[in-house]
């Protein structure tokens, strides 16, 4: 039911070419069944469901253990982590601001120092939630004409990857303190912003992307082609923008282990600050990162097929399922054209049935006339 491709959903739900026209008109069962099926369960909503683990503290001796755990996490670990984070930020800002504003002459040195500092602050972040991250595969190398793509679960994906390599990332512009960070620190890395709500935005962003990858001095570009955070059990369709840049695409697969905390950031349910607090009050964030083999566009392959092929690789490695939905459906209704396609199919079958009747009628009239003469 969940693997149904979009084509099947659009499949012919019109009347069958039966003789009984009234029956064909009144029988709404295929259309109604599709609607009911979507209400009862649909593959899109499943992508954004936070699956909370089974509570294990349900009996008399596990519960006190759990309470002790809570006291330790909130009372001991959290303050330590918070202090660590604050110290880390003080050091970072104390070094970044002078370097950014003072070393204007030695561009290359400045960039190198800034990259190092960003990697440092990301490591501090990771330490603040006791991130246990295992990296597999060859570390990304700095080369021209290459982009990195990864599946997206939370903004911490960026932090997890950034502590290893100072990527330039393309992300949605956020409000609040995150937005402030974006426009100051991250801009120096060469990060690119987009705005989901602006329709012309896509072309502007595509231009910026092309410009970035052609510059050999820029930081390696990281793109999350899903365009939105998904719950790390599914992947939604990859947008083809990242795959049309005429570059090598290096896939990265990220899989979080839910054992202590679910790293999925449900942006509709909580702000990023709340999300971070939840991570900081849990035991650890465990995850695996796989750097996969770089891929190039094969001859005769369209960019959409290329995107799907890379998505297959990432989904396989991370052990997550694929669904054929566009992540932006989280924010927008599906296009009216999809409904119109179904309506057109239905209308065509009705017209066919009417025409069949007209032709049989003229046939019998013809025979009758022929008989008479």
């Amino acid at each position: 039911m969940y693997q149904r491709h979009l084509d099947e959903v659009l499949a012919d739900s019109g009347p069958k070419a039966d003789d009984d026209l009234l029956r064909n008109l009144l029988d709404l069962s295929p259309t109604l069944s599709e609607a009911a099926s979507a209400i009862i369960d649909d593959s899109f909503t499943r992508c954004f469901k936070s699956n909370s683990p089974e509570p294990w503290n349900w009996n008399i001796y596990l519960f006190p253990l759990w309470v002790v755990g809570v006291i330790m996490r909130y009372g001991i670990l959290f303050p330590i982590r918070l202090v660590l984070l604050i110290i880390g930020w003080v050091i970072f800002l104390g070094l970044f601001i002078p370097i950014h504003f003072c070393i204007k002459k030695h561009e290359k040195l400045r960039q190198k120092l800034e990259r190092g500092l960003v990697e440092f602050i990301c490591s501090v972040f990771v330490a603040s939630w006791t991130g246990v991250i295992k990296y597999h595969g060859p570390r990304p190398s700095r080369r021209a004409k290459q982009v990195f793509v990864a599946n997206h679960t939370s903004m911490i994906d960026f932090i997890v990857l950034e502590q290893m390599t100072a990527f330039a990332v393309i992300m949605q512009k956020h409000p609040g303190w995150v937005g402030l960070l974006q426009t100051t620190v991250l801009e120096s890395l060469g990060c690119i912003w987009f705005n989901r709500t602006e329709s012309k935005d896509r072309m502007i962003v595509a231009k910026k992307l092309k410009h970035h990858v052609e510059d050999p001095d820029s930081n390696p570009l990281l793109i999350f082609p899903e365009g939105t955070c998904v719950n790390n059990e599914y992947t939604v369709m990859f947008k083809k923008g990242a795959f049309e840049l005429d570059c090598t695409v290096c896939p990265i697969a990220i899989k979080y282990n839910k054992i202590f905390v679910d790293a999925f950031w449900n942006s509709k349910k909580q702000s990023f600050t709340m999300h971070l607090l939840r991570l900081m009050t849990s035991w650890a964030v465990v995850c695996d990162v796989w750097y996969l083999e770089p891929q190039t566009l094969r001859p005769g392959e369209t960019s959409i097929e290329f995107a799907e092929r890379v998505r297959d690789m990432i989904a396989d490695r991370a052990g997550i399922k694929k669904v054929p939905w566009d992540g932006y459906l989280k924010y927008y209704r599906p296009s009216v054209k999809l409904t119109e396609k179904k309506q057109q199919k239905f209308a065509e079958s009705i017209v066919r049935q009417l025409d069949d009747r007209k032709s049989t009628r003229s046939l019998t009239t013809g025979l009758r006339d022929g008989g008479l003469s």
Partner: protein, 175 residues
């Protein structure tokens, strides 16, 4: 069961089971409850039209607006009762009643040719002219031996739709 964020008790489950005439099993009801709570994001106790439309597969359905009229604002018990027409345990009368309900938008117990044209408009959009729609409905009624101004009753629905068998079953996934 007023607060949707609380768990269902055994009493609640049995109450819902009775209300839908045992068309769903208890496990299916629990599964439907999880689904209801997932769709009712703000925990109001009912699912709004907007929340239904956030399911893409539902939003692209040509009859989505009509179904919203039937489904939105229902509490969980009523939600299950309405959907029970799609259970494999539902009788053909249950299913026909549901289809009749979709047609009979004015709720007067009869489906006129006007009602049929309205549903046909939802199903065919702008791809049929008004003339074509009128012609199809007239043709269909006359072919089956009714006059073109006749209003169909539930018994007529039974006569027309029952002999081919009605495939209107949806499976409720049980985790």
């Amino acid at each position: 069961m007023g607060n949707t964020s609380s768990m269902l008790t055994q009493y609640d489950i049995e109450d819902v089971e009775n209300h839908c005439s045992q068309r769903f099993t208890q496990r299916e009801i629990v599964s439907l409850y999880q689904r209801f709570c997932a769709l009712d994001r703000s925990g109001k106790g009912y699912i709004s039209g907007d929340e239904f439309m956030s399911v893409p597969e539902f939003a692209v359905n040509p009859l989505s607006q009509r179904l919203l009229g039937i489904l939105e604002g229902l509490n969980f018990k009523e939600f299950v009762a309405v959907l029970s027409a799609f259970s494999p345990l539902a009788t053909i009368n249950d299913k026909l009643d549901f289809i009749f309900r979709v047609y009979d938008i004015r709720n007067n117990g009869k489906v006129s040719s006007e009602d049929m044209i309205r549903v046909l408009r939802d199903l065919s959009g702008d791809f049929l002219t008004d003339k074509q729609r009128q012609a199809v409905v007239t043709q269909a009624l006359e072919e089956s031996g009714y006059s073109k101004d006749y209003s169909l009753t539930p018994e007529d629905f039974l006569k027309v739709l029952s002999n081919g068998g009605l495939k209107m079953d949806v499976e409720v996934p049980i985790d």
